[in-house]
């Protein structure tokens, strides 16, 4: 049985066609590798920077239970960052370099984390909307064609559902509370709604990388498709809370069973991406300081490990 010899390249496209995963040591086109590294590292940066807006409220959570839950959620996000940096490393990317690119403002991360968290209700809105939007995207990515990315997504999705529910639970409590508390919840929804819609990326006809990603089965749905799903899933949840989605044109279309809605202000989106959002500079500064201030710990751990190794060697002789 001699299988017809096929080139590495043919083999790669065959695997993609057959819905088989690409694994780290497989041959892959440079464009696929670079697209994957870019997407996974941006995703990793988003998980890490995403801890900052919420970290702002750990010490001010209204009860010990809320504080423990928020801490657990934020700890999960740190883990998500780690899974994703590891996945990027399987492609030959250097983690230090990726982090350096974030710190010098060259690498992108989700624009939503450049908005401030002004009240406790924002922590509810982030869990419900931001993690909700992330879940939409990540559930799709469980089927992405690159094996390590797909496996990271499966782990992440298992953990995400609690994030969204704890957020909604916060808002549910506020909405059943005093008039002021309900207003606080409404204010949070007003501010987070459109930035959440932006999380799915630009409109399909303006999205630069979409075609290739769909063809290579990196993504399975377009930005607009995911955004529509998110709106359809979220609007009834807002109604349940008794909150109003800040969109006068929001309308349910019984025929398509979809909501029509107002697009976010895309000029704001591009402006935030360019670094001009309310918190961009602060986020990067915080990350950079954390990295620099942790350097002595990393160095000390290495020095200790080396000394132990030396001691073990000497002991054995």
């Amino acid at each position: 049985m001699t299988a017809k010899a096929i080139s590495q390249e043919e083999r790669f496209y065959q695997l993609i066609d057959k819905e088989e995963k690409i694994e780290p040591k497989d041959w892959m086109p440079e464009k696929y590798r670079n697209t994957m590294i870019r997407q996974i590292s941006q995703h990793a940066h988003s998980e890490v920077v995403g801890m900052l807006p919420e970290g702002n409220w750990i010490s001010r959570a209204p009860s010990l239970r809320r504080k423990a839950a928020l801490l657990a959620k934020i700890q999960d996000e740190a883990g998500h960052g780690l899974y994703l940096y590891s996945a990027a490393e399987t492609l030959g990317a250097d983690r230090e370099e990726l982090i350096e690119e974030l710190h010098i403002g060259k690498a992108k991360y989700s624009s939503i984390f450049n908005y401030p968290t002004l009240s406790w209700a924002d922590i509810g809105a982030i869990g419900w909307l931001v993690d909700g939007a992330a879940i939409m995207n990540q559930v799709m990515l469980c089927r992405t064609s690159y094996g390590p990315y797909s496996r990271a997504m499966v782990r992440i999705c298992k953990e995400e559902s609690f994030h969204q529910r704890q957020g909604y639970d916060i808002l549910l409590t506020l909405c059943n509370g005093t008039k002021e508390q309900k207003e606080m919840a409404q204010d949070a929804l007003n501010r987070w709604w459109y930035p959440s819609l932006m999380m799915f990326g630009p409109k399909d006809d303006e999205s630069v990388h979409s075609d290739y990603s769909i063809k290579m089965k990196i993504k399975r749905f377009s930005n607009d498709e995911l955004r529509q799903r998110f709106v359809d899933a979220t609007v009834p949840q807002a109604e349940y809370l008794g909150l109003k989605v800040p969109d006068k044109n929001l309308k349910f279309n019984a025929k398509t069973e979809n909501y029509s809605f107002t697009e976010p202000d895309w000029s704001e989106f591009y402006n935030v991406i360019k670094g001009n959002g309310p918190c961009n500079k602060d986020r990067i500064k915080t990350r950079r300081e954390a990295f620099e201030n942790g350097k002595w710990v990393r160095d000390a751990a290495i020095a200790y490990a080396e000394k132990q190794k030396q001691n073990n060697k000497n002991g054995k002789q």
């Binding site: 590495q8 899974y83 983690r95 751990a301 290495i302």
Partner: protein, 96 residues
């Protein structure tokens, strides 16, 4: 960036419960084996996913070459007689 100061990469294997093998769950960075186990505990078993952890430095793993997948695994492809279904036995026979 002093690359020499990077913590090495470790592969993590978790036994989820007694009776099952350790299974690869992912990787992480740690300065030594002990820290790799502690970090793996924090990263991969926050929801009781495991009762035992193995760690091994990634550089110590030797992997087969996917480019040689065909020549490596072909020899088992033409030996159907290794499978029980290869042997067609009369239906009346029981317990075989």
């Amino acid at each position: 960036m002093e690359n020499s100061k990077n913590w090495p990469l470790w592969e993590i294997f978790i036994r989820s419960k007694r009776g099952l093998s350790h299974k690869h769950v992912g990787s992480l960075r740690a300065s030594d084996a002990q820290m790799a186990i502690e970090n793996a505990r924090d990263v991969y078993t926050r929801r009781q996913e495991g009762i035992s952890i193995w760690v091994i430095e990634s550089k110590n793993i030797t992997a087969s070459d996917p480019g040689e997948q065909d020549s490596l695994f072909d020899p088992s492809g033409d030996k159907p007689y290794r499978h029980p279904t290869f042997y067609k036995l009369p239906d009346e026979l029981k317990n075989i």
